[in-house]
Every structure is written in structure tokens, then in C-alpha cells.
Amino acid sequence: MPTATIAGREVSLNDEGFMTDPGQWTEEIGATLARQIGIDPLTEEHWKVIRFLRSDFDAQGETATLRRVSTVAGLATKDLYTLFPGKPARKMAYVAGLPKPKGCV
């Protein structure tokens, strides 16, 4: 399993590049990962999503789907597509240092 130094810390990544240990994540790492996929800078709206994903993962043990972010955190679907364009669910999980969501909606 590859490891890399991101924002000064040693982290484990899977073959795709997603972090495999959410415990290794820091906000600085999140900002670096975002920059790598062209999201720069992270606005307060981005952070709202990332913080929700992190706390929801702690509580539920799995990454929230887009639908869950929208209904539970109260963020409009449309905005999520704007904040994390292209592949919103995967991109937000990536930046938050979490696995890709398993749910379908």
C-alpha cells in the first residue's frame, strides 16, 4: 500500500489515491488534497461539507452519500455539485480523507 507525505505528514493511500486511515487526516491535508484536484481555495461552504462528512463518518462508520449530506446537513444538492464539480460525492470524500461512499443515492 503506497504511503505519501502530504502537508508534512506521512499518510497511507490506496491504489486510487484515497486515504485509507481517516485518523491520519488533518485540515491541512484536506486543503492539500483539494488543491490537487483543482479545488482551491476551500471556502467556508466547502468546510461545512467536509466537517459534516467527518463527524457523520465518526458517528455512522461510513461515508455519507450526497443525499445524506443534502438532507441531514441541510445543504442543497445543486450547491454540492457546484462546490465539488464533476464527481461531487467522491471528491468530497477524497478531500475529507474518507473512503468513497458505498450508497447509491
Binding site: T5, L13, E16, I37, T77, Y81
Partner: protein
């Protein structure tokens, strides 16, 4: 891909330019969902989406019927009792109220999975950039007009227009 900072990052642009067109020809509650789930999933992967509603599928996008879709156990040999392998007896399925009960149960199960009701799902798909179309021939046959459809429906189009829209895309028929 290895990034400028020397670590691998996922390829998030793999599906750029991909296009999916789903033809939805059935109007029952259970058959409304496959197109919506797959279409919504495609949008989340950055794939352009066109949902083309035709024939009975028009019920899914009609104002008068979108919230009243149902399913019947009659003729459906895959309808089991609970999680057993026992088939629902066909005569039981034909009793008054059984379709309403089956529809009510399915709505509950769908809700339990965190999946939205049909109308809300259509709105979500449209907000995410998905395109909803009604089939001209079916609309004419059923003597409907644009006003009969929910606001998210962009237009009534014919086969040639559908083929233009779905050019170089993948087409799924439901």
C-alpha cells in the same frame, strides 16, 4: 496520476464527455426507480444524463400521477412474502386494497433506505443537471400537453430529437 507534490491522486476526469440516455417506458412505482437511481448515479459521476419518458412511463412525470404511482402483486411471481421464498398467492394479490398495500409497503421501504419519493427525486435529478424529456408520440396518443407535466420536464421531443441528444452516448431501455 502522480501529482506535482509527488503523491497519487484519483482520476476524477475519467468520465468527462460520457453521456447516458435512459428510456423509461413503464409507469409503475417499482419501475420508476431504476431510471432515477441509475440516472442520479450517473450525474454524481459527472456523466451527462437524459431521461426520456415514453408510453406508460409518462405517468412518472405527469402532475396528476407522479405522487400516485403504484404497483400490483398480480402477475408478479417475484413478489414474495417478507424475506421468505414463498410467492404471494395470485388470488390474494387480486383482493381489493392489495395494490394500495403493496405500494404503501414499497414506499416505506424506499424511504427507509434514504431514497426520496419519485417527485422529489425527479427534482433532485433536474437540479443536478439531468434532462427530462417526454415522448411526442405518446403525449399525442394520450392527448396530453406540456402543461400536464411537472415543471422539471424540459420539453416534448420526437425520436429524431432524442437520437440527436443521445448521439455517442449509451442508451438504456427500461
Amino acid at each position: 496520476m502522480t501529482t506535482s507534490e509527488g503523491f497519487i491522486a484519483p482520476k476524477f476526469d475519467q468520465d468527462a464527455g460520457r453521456k447516458l440516455a435512459i428510456i423509461c417506458s413503464k409507469g409503475t412505482l417499482d419501475m420508476a426507480y431504476p431510471g432515477l437511481i441509475m440516472g442520479n448515479g450517473a450525474l454524481q459521476e459527472g456523466i451527462e444524463l437524459h431521461l426520456f419518458y415514453t408510453f406508460w412511463g409518462l405517468d412518472i412525470i405527469r402532475r396528476k400521477t407522479v405522487d400516485k404511482l403504484s404497483l400490483t402483486p398480480v402477475g408478479n411471481t417475484a413478489m414474495r412474502i417478507g424475506s421468505t421464498s414463498l410467492a404471494m398467492p395470485q388470488t390474494l394479490g387480486a383482493l381489493p386494497g392489495m395494490s394500495s398495500m403493496a405500494s404503501w409497503m414499497m414506499r416505506g421501504k424506499i424511504k427507509g433506505l434514504g431514497v426520496p419519493p419519485v417527485h422529489e427525486f425527479l427534482t433532485q435529478v433536474a437540479e443536478a443537471g439531468g434532462h427530462l424529456w417526454a415522448c411526442k408520440m405518446s403525449v399525442d396518443m394520450m392527448k396530453l400537453t406540456k402543461e400536464d407535466f411537472i415543471d422539471e420536464v424540459e420539453d416534448i421531443i420526437n425520436v429524431a430529437e432524442f437520437l440527436d441528444l443521445s448521439r455517442d452516448g449509451q442508451i438504456i431501455f427500461i
